[in-house]
């Protein structure tokens, strides 16, 4: 099936002072895919994700989303930002109830109260936290908090969902639950999922395509099985064979 390009980045770089932490000549992400971003620590994965999720501007390079260049006006950029969202490695929950945390983005979009309630209740059911809807979010366990953070993003039904190592601190049961939710989001709504992961098994389980970064450079990109079975670059090979320490 032919997928249309949803994000295109050309000549992307990010510098902090004199230090260049990311360089990627060409990144093309297709709609409806699950894309794994892999690489050892310090490879620039989180930096790339922050740029693609419009949290940080690149130092140089051209970005386009949904076939359009990045708008200059804040209001148009807000419209574009609302088509994508992100889940951080360490979930940041607001000092409010579980329900209000999940409803946050829907309220920001000024949806009718009835629709907000319906969508939040559905999300609560999916993450198995219906009974905790009135509980203060900050009293949840790590796994529950990450589930709430994921529900808060998924309830927005984004076209692109970025995740920065969302399962890094979770037990296997929560990992399985989150992966299931991501798969169903991708399958049912066609959401493009871009997930940074250290976990080779997870990348292989989830992702259809892989971006491999090393020392701030995009080294290789391609279908997951190609990357794992026939990597073109020696660094990619070392990484997927577990010979590169990460």
């Amino acid at each position: 099936m032919e997928h249309k390009v949803i994000i295109e980045a050309t000549g992307l770089s990010k510098c902090f002072g004199e230090r260049e932490v990311l360089r990627a000549e060409n990144i093309t992400l297709c709609a409806g895919n699950i894309i794994g971003v892999m690489g050892p620590s310090g490879a620039g994965k989180s930096t790339l994700l922050r740029i693609l999720s419009l949290l940080d501007p690149p130092t140089s390079g051209v970005l386009s989303f949904f076939g359009q260049p990045l708008p200059a006006s804040p209001s148009e950029r807000l419209v574009m930002r609302r088509r994508l969202t992100m889940v951080m490695q360490k979930p940041v929950l607001f000092d409010a109830s579980v329900f209000d945390n999940i409803a946050f983005g829907l309220k920001a979009r000024r949806l009718p109260a009835g629709e907000i309630s319906r969508r939040v209740e559905e999300s609560l059911e999916k993450i198995g936290l219906t009974a905790q809807r009135r509980q203060k979010a900050k009293t949840l366990s790590g796994g529950e908090a990450q589930r709430v953070a994921l529900a808060r993003a998924m309830v927005l039904e984004p076209e692109i969902l970025f995740l920065d190592e969302p399962t890094a601190n979770l037990d296997p049961a929560n990992v399985e639950l989150l992966e299931g939710l991501l798969r169903s989001l991708n399958r049912e709504l066609g959401t493009t999922v871009v997930i940074v992961t250290h976990n080779l098994f997870q990348a292989r389980r989830l992702a259809g395509d892989i971006l491999f970064l090393c020392q701030g450079s995009l080294v290789e990109a391609g279908p997951t099985e190609e990357i794992f079975k026939r990597p073109l670059d020696l660094r990619t090979r070392a990484f997927v064979e577990g010979r590169m320490i990460y």
Binding site: L55, T85, M86, V92, F94, F104, G105, A108
Partner: protein
């Protein structure tokens, strides 16, 4: 000391109208000043807390310096502005309650700005990122940051109130300690000490401390209510 405490209780028990007028004026002046300072200081502190540190380094250093502004210096500046030949002389505000509120507001603003900026900055980046990726506009971002940092901001207001309720030099200069008009607890303590009425001065001191204790207890309960169990 015991005599002072007994004096304080006796003063309160007699419902001396002058004493209660002084207490009321102290609370009115400091309360008004803190409210005004919070109205200016919280948005300014939030703005400062949201900016990257290098871009606001100079402003931050100035604010931190002004947090320790000696009250007599603030009093002198306001005195010069409000005196007959000063820029604001035609307003005839010198030796009025309004002048006392102005000078105390000036003292409280840097404290509230500085501590609010610290509270916002401590939560800033992670909350900012989360709020932005959830599709919030700038107004919702600022509102959420203030809400999330509210206990820190309340701490800033408590500290600002503590600073101005106990302050004497500035209100003395611009208020003049006029009996029945601009006399507050701190200036009354100075006056009674100068007159040699140490017991009465001490009693007034105890009343001032008691007031500060009651108000801060209330604010602390508000603050702790939000942070306990989270």
């Amino acid at each position: 000391m015991l005599e002072a405490i007994a004096n304080a209780v006796r003063l309160l028990a007699t419902f001396d109208p002058e004493l209660f007028r002084i207490i009321w004026l102290s609370l009115f002046v400091s309360g008004s000043a803190v409210v005004l300072a919070a109205l200016c200081g919280v948005p300014l502190g939030t703005w400062l807390g949201l900016k990257p540190v290098p871009s606001v380094r100079a402003i931050t250093i100035i604010i931190y310096t002004l947090m320790g502004l000696p009250p007599v210096v603030a009093g002198l500046v306001i005195y010069m502005l409000l005196s007959r030949r000063g820029m604001l002389g035609p307003l005839n505000l010198l030796f009025t309650v309004e002048a006392m509120i102005i000078v105390q507001t000036l003292l409280a603003i840097p404290i509230i700005v500085g501590l609010t900026a610290i509270a916002v900055r401590s939560k800033g980046r992670e909350i900012r990122d989360t709020v932005l990726v959830l599709g919030a506009d700038h107004r919702l971002l600022v509102w959420t940051l203030i809400r999330e940092a509210r206990y820190g901001i309340l701490g800033a207001v408590i500290t600002g109130f503590g600073r101005v309720i106990a302050e004497v030099g500035a209100v003395m200069m611009v208020g003049g300690n006029i009996e029945g008009h601009t006399r507050v607890l701190t200036t009354a303590i100075v006056l009674e000490t100068r007159k040699g009425n140490f017991a009465l001065a001490m009693a007034l001191g105890i009343i001032l401390l008691l007031l500060a204790f009651i108000i801060n207890s209330g604010l602390y309960r508000l603050q702790a209510g939000g942070t306990d169990g989270t």
